[in-house]
Symmetry: C2
Subunit: 352 residues, 2 copies
């Protein structure tokens, strides 16, 4: 899969003398839909499965490996942001969800919902980013769908990606595998994606631009699984680290203790959180994972993570306890203790 080259050209292949914006007819199932598929999607997402242009794709069997499936719709606003766009995000997000299931990502389906009038040039940039992210992650985009809705009936573009992976045979992970004594590891600095988006929306300026951490994590997971016994994985996206941990505390019936001190966070991101009145534990990440690892193995897993570009700032940030089942408790830098609850209300709408 890696031998595909990026067919990168930044001018949209549909001559703009024909049309330069999406028309309702691009979603008709007729001639213009066909145009869009043949001139924009196929040349970019080229692979033999997609090229059959059937109602779906027929793929090889998985040689007895269990399937993993994950779906995500992306409605991020703005569509283009520092460090990525809705296209790259939609690939990273689903690739990561598969990796968090303990699976090797293999295939993606893509469903576009596009607002009438959306510029074809921007669609082309999104497609280029998706293909680049897919190649990096070693996944193929094998089937798709495009709908166009009338102006004002959606906000520019929404993308659903659904991923199919093959479970790593030696990996059984999940909330039910978490044990008292497990160490909780985060793969790097938190809250960057949410703050990158909010900075654009709020017009905040910093010395240097805060970029989203949006990235694929499956290769990091692949490295980690050789280094030690992993009990659970979660990517702290919407609702941030606190929501991911609360979900797992609830599902495992165990208590988690978090230590504020070692939680990595960029200085600028911390400053932005203060300006915006946000707790970084609740802010979305798109290129970070939280791992629950047996305490005997955690130092080996941490070492392996730190040698990988996606895990170089990894830290042990907490442990699993028998006390306070279902609850996440933070020990603060100054020695205090507070309960970190699940997000109530909506802090950052449309972050992904």
């Amino acid at each position: 899969m890696k031998d595909q080259s990026i067919n990168a050209t930044f001018s949209c292949p549909i001559p703009i003398t024909d049309y330069k914006n999406i028309l309702l007819a691009h979603g008709s199932g007729g001639k213009l839909t066909n145009d869009l598929i043949r001139k924009m999607f196929l040349p970019q997402f080229h692979n033999k499965h997609l090229e059959t242009l059937g109602d779906g794709a027929v793929l090889p069997s998985m040689d007895g490996r269990r399937l993993a499936v994950s779906t995500d719709s992306f409605v991020v606003n703005p569509v283009f942001f520092p460090g990525g766009n809705i296209g790259s995000l939609s690939v990273h997000g689903t690739v990561n969800d598969l990796a968090m299931c303990g699976a090797e990502p293999l295939y993606l389906s893509v469903g576009f919902i596009i607002e009438e009038g959306f510029p074809l040039d921007e669609l082309w940039q999104i497609i280029l980013s998706m293909e680049e992210a897919a190649i990096e992650a070693g996944v193929q985009i094998v089937t798709g769908d495009t709908k166009v809705v009338d102006k004002g009936k959606c906000d520019r573009i929404f993308i659903n990606t659904t991923g199919i992976g093959a479970a790593w045979p030696d990996m059984t992970i999940g909330a039910d595998q978490i044990q008292p004594g497990d160490h909780i590891i985060v793969s790097g600095d938190i809250a960057r994606h949410g703050i990158a988006i909010m900075s654009v929306r709020e017009g905040l300026e910093f010395e240097s631009t805060i970029e989203s951490d949006s990235a694929s994590l499956h290769d990091l997971v692949n490295t980690m699984r050789y280094a030690g016994k992993i009990h659970a994985l979660r990517d702290p996206t919407r609702g941030g680290v606190s929501s991911a941990l609360n979900e797992l505390a609830d599902a495992s019936g165990l208590g988690f203790v978090l230590h504020e001190e070692p939680i990595p966070i960029q200085e600028q991101v911390r400053a932005a959180c203060e300006i915006l009145g946000l707790d970084p534990l609740y802010v979305a990440n798109e290129g970070k994972l939280i791992a629950f690892v047996s305490n005997e193995d955690s130092k080996y897993v941490l070492e392996a993570m730190r040698e990988h570009p996606m895990g170089k700032d990894a830290e042990i940030i907490g442990e699993v306890v028998d006390d306070h089942p279902g609850m996440v408790v933070l020990k603060s830098r100054i020695g205090g203790t507070r309960v970190v609850d699940m997000l109530t209300g909506e802090q950052l709408p449309r972050i992904c």
Copy 2:
């Protein structure tokens, strides 16, 4: 899978004293998202894969069978229409796309994009319809995602479903299998779905309500494949029969001759098409298929179809020829001949 009972209750399980409409916070990934999942989705779409509530579902291997994958986003307007709603439609549509690939539908993922303020009672009705359609089709909804966008940023509710099936081992179908001499069979009367939707939008009234034909076709395909050699299948949804045939004519490099006389169409639907100025060949269907069958086998396949409730009005409506490659030609009732081209422009936006 068939032993699941429909847990049908028509009052929404989230007490309306809490809230009766969707809030932005239902898409936050926090407490209200969790509420929605635990009180509405899980009790209805109950199965062991979904209940793990991981970032995705891990499913059994397919015993060496090839996978089929298909995705579709549904943006139909109105959300509720005679004969169905966006929920049942989103199951039927993807189940049918898998069946058209020659696959047994097994699993669905579901991605909701919901507008802030959407009534929870309507969401509950949609969920009930999805589960009913899924049980009928023998598919399990194994993973999902919910996003909420601010009021005015989408039109009520959009649903993506992505389906995974196991290819029937003895079935190799596709445009490249179509041969000159093949008969073209339609499984029943055409244009009903599109007209059902348009009648609501335009406020047309007839003696009896025109109902959508939205239904799952995989069991009909399963019956057909024992009766004779099927070369290609397509469900004529957006763009109708003409667009489906044009795509296949183009992909196969062969010519198709259609006969107007035997094409089944309800009298009321024909009348509505005349009022609305629509050609029924371009109007969407959601419970019909077109099959390309070897001419030796077509009578057996037709007989088998007519014994199935989904195919009782099946007819042979045309044949494949060496002439006029890539072109679909209609022989009209009065003996004339005209080219049936692919749809240009958009006749019926947001029909599915």
